[in-house]
């Protein structure tokens, strides 16, 4: 397979700094989000959520709510239609009196306006028989179990009997336990659905304008849960105000929206989550406890790695974050053990959050490597160089590209890295100053099944259609660029259509796969179109196709890499940590658009710094979240974001897809928190093995 449009191509759109196509509509407020799709006379829904973490509903009082003028329907487990499939308990909305976490949907109100719906929801009285809830991740618990697999289809455990012996015989042994807290995606747009249920001669149909990363996934799930044929459901998501994984899979609120719409057939219902409800119903990242052991020889070559992770899941649904999986491929070692243990708790359902697995796993691993470098007495960059695996340690496959060392070297020069292996405890006035480095990686995942359609329009343009979603990443722009090059036409000839299940099926906007998977489908469709219709097609000429076969992909281990360099300043009297400067270099294959790519890289770096310094939630003993709004759940504010810059290596990865681009949505967060943590150690000599690195850790 030849590669698509080399950068030197005369007309190449790929690689140019095309401004975001969706930018003007978004900044002028004319881009309709899920709540805003025009509808005649919409009704409004509001959820009632459980006040206890575990128990049974013993009484439900809805008279006051029903009596409120303007209330159209009050649904509960006593008065809700039976769902066709309740095997996934997250979606079994209003199907029983059981309560499995605090914040679970227990009733639903539909009213003429949002304020009435909210007040009616407040007036619904719920009585519970409360049972003792378990909400705290205890790595000693008897209830821990080994999941069959972890997210991404990875094995839960990889065991090597030689590891323990090698660790105890190692010249240098690092054995440390790290903790990360419960975190939230905190997308700007709350999860929201505008839903319309229609009955046509006994055949129901459902239209959903949903804030989702995955319209086809929403349709698939709702078809199963509601017992409708898939073609009776349409899901539309033209613009999404961020998701960070929390909208990658549908959640209970979408089922609730469908039930609300079904209660008032023919009438559109808008059901937004409140900000507080996004914290419980929108998903979260599990807290983790991670024990990392690295056994190295005198020269710092790692002989054995053990990475064990303990994390929680909801009692009603398993989600197993692949936290330790990163240690299977990151560094060389003849022997390695990785393991995941899950504790089912009475907590909301965890789900994907930007770089699930790699984000918390890299924090532990990359701090551990920093600690090992000190034990060995070499600069942490040098230690990483000495542990470069020539091929993927897990699969034995050759790397399609492994340029971690190039990222480290270029980043070191750009940042002005001063090699050291012990904390330097520098002080500038009231500030303690430190530098830290950490590596990043993210796999080149591939999700099959996306198709695209190309049609020649009467005005000479080409319609390019696929059901993929731009959740704010730049897909509206980069897919148009890919299509222009694939059709060998100017960019303004491309009329892109996205975000609708009426368009050809597309995979989820997740796993940093969109550009590669949807782009490959567009390339495949464009080539098929040209083969079928030639270079001067008639109006209406149309081709539907998916990606071409690409067997090279299976022959290689495909991963992106990166290196973060961070300067921290810590107030000597108050312990406040600031990150005034960060430089990160990535190897991520071909960059389709430097404008949108920079935003992805830097945005994820900010999210990583935010995780390092601020973000934390916890489920209390009664199931209440410690924080449940954006005043209490601290994401980095503008004042926290200093001079953060990203660069990338010029390269392409034709082994992955014909486009040569690997994904860039997630790698920026991977390792970022470790780099911050390592810098705080350089500044203070205090090795804090938990996140976030709040001021109390650094008081004099």
């Amino acid at each position: 397979m030849t590669e698509l449009s080399q950068p030197a191509d005369r007309r190449a759109s790929i690689g140019t700094a095309e401004p975001r196509h969706d930018g003007p509509a978004k900044v002028t407020g004319s881009a309709p989000y899920a709540f805003e799709h025009p509808a005649a006379d919409p009704a409004y829904g509001h959820l009632v959520t459980s006040a206890v973490a575990r128990g049974r509903i013993t009484a439900l009082h809805t008279d006051a709510a029903r009596a409120l003028p303007g209330v159209l329907a009050v649904l509960s487990h006593l008065a809700a239609p039976a769902l066709a499939d309740t095997s996934d308990a997250e979606f079994a909305v209003l199907q029983s009196d059981e309560v499995a976490f605090r914040g679970q949907i227990v009733a639903l109100v539909v009213a003429e306006d949002a304020e009435t719906a909210r007040e009616a929801a407040r007036l619904v009285g719920v009585e519970y028989e409360e049972s003792t809830a378990r909400t705290v991740l205890d790595p000693e618990s008897d209830a821990l179990y080994c999941p069959e697999s972890v997210n991404g289809g990875h094995r839960s455990d990889t065991r090597d009997a030689a590891v323990e012996g090698l660790l105890s015989a190692a010249d240098h042994l690092l054995d440390a336990t790290y903790r990360t807290p419960m975190q939230h995606q905190a997308a700007m747009e709350p999860h929201t659905t505008t839903a319309l249920w229609q009955e046509n001669r006994g055949h129901p149909s459902l239209t959903l304008y949903d804030s989702t990363q995955n319209p086809h996934g929403v349709r698939r799930t709702l078809a199963t849960v509601l017992g409708l044929p898939a073609d009776a459901i349409r899901c539309v998501a033209h613009y999404v105000g961020g998701g960070f994984g929390s909208k990658g899979l549908p959640h209970a609120n979408v089922v609730a929206a469908a039930l609300a719409a079904r209660a008032v057939p023919g009438r559109t219902v808008r059901l937004p989550l409140t900000r507080q409800q996004t914290f419980t119903l929108g998903g979260h990242r599990t807290p983790t406890v991670q024990r990392v052991r690295l056994g190295a020889d005198e020269g710092g070559r790692i002989r054995a790695i053990s990475h064990e992770a303990w994390e929680h899941t909801s009692r009603i649904k398993e989600f197993a974050e692949q936290t330790a999986a990163i240690s299977r491929m990151m560094y060389t070692a003849e022997h390695r053990t990785t393991a995941h243990r899950l504790l089912p708790l009475d907590v909301p359902v965890p789900t994907w959050m930007r770089a699930p697995g790699e984000a918390p796993g890299s924090y532990a691993l990359e701090v551990a490597v920093d600690e090992l470098a000190e034990l060995v007495g070499v600069d942490p960059i040098e230690l990483r160089v000495r542990n470069e695996p020539p091929h993927d340690p897990e699969t034995g496959k050759p790397w399609s590209s492994r340029r971690l060392v190039d990222c480290l070297r270029e980043g070191a020069e750009w940042f002005g890295w001063d090699p050291h292996h012990a904390p330097r405890l520098r002080r500038e006035g009231r500030w303690r100053v430190g530098h830290g480095v950490a590596a990043a990686t993210y796999p080149g995942l591939y999700i099959p099944g996306t198709k695209a359609e190309i049609e020649r329009l009467g005005d000479g343009r080409y319609a390019v259609r696929t059901g993929a979603v731009d959740l704010g990443t730049g897909a509206w722009t980069v897919l148009a660029q890919i299509a222009a090059d694939a059709l060998d036409c100017p960019l303004d000839r491309i009329a892109l259509e996205l975000g609708d299940t009426r368009l050809p099926r597309a995979s989820v906007a997740g796993g940093s796969t969109g550009t590669a998977c949807w782009g490959s489908a567009i390339v495949g469709a464009a080539r098929a179109f040209r083969a079928e219709h030639g270079s001067d097609p008639r109006t209406g000429a149309r081709t539907l196709a998916g990606p071409e076969e690409h067997p090279e992909r299976e022959q290689y281990a495909i991963h992106s890499f990166g290196a973060h360099f961070v300067e921290v300043r810590i107030d000597a009297d108050t312990g406040e940590v600031r990150v005034p400067r960060m430089r990160s270099v990535f190897s991520a294959g071909r960059i389709i658009n430097p404008v949108t790519a920079r935003s992805q890289f830097v945005g994820a770096m900010i999210m990583g710094v935010s995780a390092a310094l601020h973000e934390e939630n916890a489920v209390g003993h009664g199931g209440a979240l410690a924080t449940h709004d954006l005043a209490g759940y601290h994401v980095a504010s503008h004042a926290d974001v200093g001079d953060l810059r990203a660069r990338w290596l010029e390269e392409t990865d034709p082994a992955y897809t014909p486009i040569g681009a690997r994904g860039i949505g997630e790698i920026g967060i991977v390792g970022a928190a470790a780099a911050v943590a390592n810098a705080t150690y350089d500044a203070t000599g205090l090795r804090i093995r938990q996140l976030p690195l709040t001021p109390d850790h650094f008081l004099p």
Partner: protein
């Protein structure tokens, strides 16, 4: 949210009359706190009496060199007022440390004093809270208390007072001017907020219907040697873990006068009078500052989650006093790197 009536009386007297006669009525000013609470169902008044457009927004110097702040003066306007910046920079800095630019643009002086705690359990109608429902219990007692108070707490409430401005005003000996049906009265700011004791729902000494019309700040000769320092979990838009409002008059190496108040640590804006007493007349040394703060904080009753506030308050206050001893901070100084 619950339906309510909305009125906009054209005088303070009429507003007072409207609220005083209706136990279900509350005042509405900037709304930055109240409107959130209406949406969350934390408060469900039947009637809102809007006082935001009454002519109570003036900020004026007083003949003796003090300051009179109208109740509806916006936080942003007060912080930007040239007289405040020049003579009460402590207050301007405290204001700018609070909330966000958007919120400060509508939040009022009286509203800031009356803002309610950010305790997560208070803000969650499904959690037990003695402030919301007297006698219901306090979920924070066994809860997550990182942002809770260590001073002035009771077994019924640990909620921290959230204001920055009020901490500066406490240090400045401000007086709250209150209008009721029977006329006007003046309450020192340090007596304006009530400790929770067994009635955490009663947060101030205001009777129902009483309206804050102004805050008066007496002159402080050494107000130019003052500082406000706020420590928080992010650089902006976060409530204080600890904040320190201080003014210091050092003569011949001894403390001739000191004002010290702490935020983030108390159930009310915390005037550190124990520390002040220990300092006045004593040596202006770091050792003395540390001892004074230790004495002040000896009254604290911390939880596991917020025990750090004691060393943090001590260290931050000592840092501020040290800085004021060495040199007053120039106006407009930036604290961030």
């Amino acid at each position: 949210m619950k339906e309510f009536s909305y009125t906009r009386p054209d005088s303070a007297e009429a507003a007072v009359a409207a609220v005083a006669q209706d136990p279900d009525a509350v005042y509405l000013a900037g709304g930055t706190n109240l409107v959130d609470h209406l949406k969350l169902g934390i408060t469900t008044p039947g009637s809102l009496v809007d006082v935001s457009r009454l002519a109570l927004g003036d900020v004026e110097p007083t003949p003796d060199g003090g300051l009179r702040i109208g109740a509806t003066a916006r936080n942003s306007d007060l912080a930007a007022h040239p007289y405040v910046r020049r003579h009460f920079s402590l207050l301007a800095r405290a204001l700018l440390a609070g909330a966000s630019g958007q919120i400060r643009n509508v939040a009022t002086t009286a509203g800031n004093l009356l803002q309610r705690t950010r305790c997560g359990y208070f803000q969650d109608p499904d959690a037990r809270c003695n402030k919301r429902r007297p006698g219901a219990g306090c979920a924070a007692q066994e809860g997550w208390t990182r942002y809770h108070a260590v001073l002035g707490t009771s077994e019924h409430c640990l909620a921290a007072h959230p204001s920055d401005m009020a901490v500066a005003l406490a240090a400045l000996d401000a007086v709250v001017v209150v209008q009721g049906r029977e006329g006007e009265r003046r309450v020192p700011l340090t007596h304006f907020h009530r400790l929770p004791d067994d009635r955490p729902d009663l947060e101030t000494v205001l009777e129902h219907g009483e309206l804050v019309t102004a805050v008066e700040v007496p002159p402080l000769p050494y107000a130019d040697r003052s500082a406000y320092r706020k420590v928080r979990d992010r650089a902006s838009y976060a409530f204080a873990l600890v904040s320190v409002a201080a003014a210091l008059d050092v003569r011949d190496g001894r403390v001739a006068g000191v004002r010290l108040a702490l935020g983030g640590v108390g159930t009310v804006p915390w005037r550190a009078s124990v520390a002040e007493e220990a300092l006045v007349g004593g040596p202006a040394t770091e050792e003395a500052y540390r001892e004074a703060l230790l004495a002040e904080l000896a009254q604290a009753s911390p939880r596991e989650d917020n025990a750090f506030k004691i060393p943090m308050a001590r260290s931050t206050a000592v840092s501020v006093l040290r800085q004021l001893t060495q040199a007053p901070p120039p106006a407009g100084r930036r604290d961030q790197p």
